[in-house]
Symmetry: C2
Subunit: 126 residues, 2 copies
């Protein structure tokens, strides 16, 4: 098994004011899905976007909100969000402290590379 | 999307002193992997066992320890554990308060049923 603290895993900038720690994925030998920890600074958000894979999200520290095509839902620690593939979404910091959350995605390319989780281009990582 | 607080999801007893909330899985429409929140009471643990699927675990509240074939590793909040398939493991409460953790597994039966996550029999759920 592999054990580390999420803060020991170097973060990448997933968007302005958004850090992403890829804590369990191809590097650890994970074959099917990838766990990431996001830190979103006050005033920041993950892109409002969609892609052809799902998210399973757990809010560690808030308050935050998830935006969808019809509005927003407020979130506090312990809230869980399932976002199906091809559904618009973005996570917004709604307070004055760092929002922290876990976001799990399938290893969409199944190539064992980290590209599935670290693409900061048009499709975005979140 | 589906949003709920993990405490709104009724728990099942996964082992003595161990509650499991299945917070994102077939019921929410999740196609590939299942997120569960475990609460382990002081003096309790998940079974020391193995199975042919992996775990990705995030410690929410501790202190805890993961047991492996050669010993134990102490864990605090923010620790991440990747446990490959077919490796012996168990999570132990090492303190005086409830240990909380997230444990994600693949939807091993791919049948859309909850059996993969709620089997409390010999193979255990954890």
């Amino acid at each position: 098994m592999k054990v580390h603290h999420y803060q020991e895993v170097e973060a990448v900038e997933a968007a302005a004011g958004v850090r992403m720690h890829v804590v369990a994925g191809p590097r650890e030998g994970a074959p099917n899905f990838i766990m990431r920890v996001f830190e979103i600074e006050p005033g920041s958000n993950t892109p409002f976007h969609q892609h052809d894979w799902e998210h399973e999200i757990f809010i560690l520290e808030g308050p935050a909100a998830v935006r969808h095509k019809d509005g927003e839902i407020l979130l506090k620690p312990g809230h869980v969000i399932f976002i199906p593939a091809n559904e618009m979404h973005g996570i917004f910091n709604k307070g004055n402290q760092t929002v922290k959350l876990i976001c799990v995605i399938p290893d969409v390319d199944k190539k064992g590379s980290a590209t599935a989780c670290c693409d900061t281009g048009a499709k975005g990582p979140a």
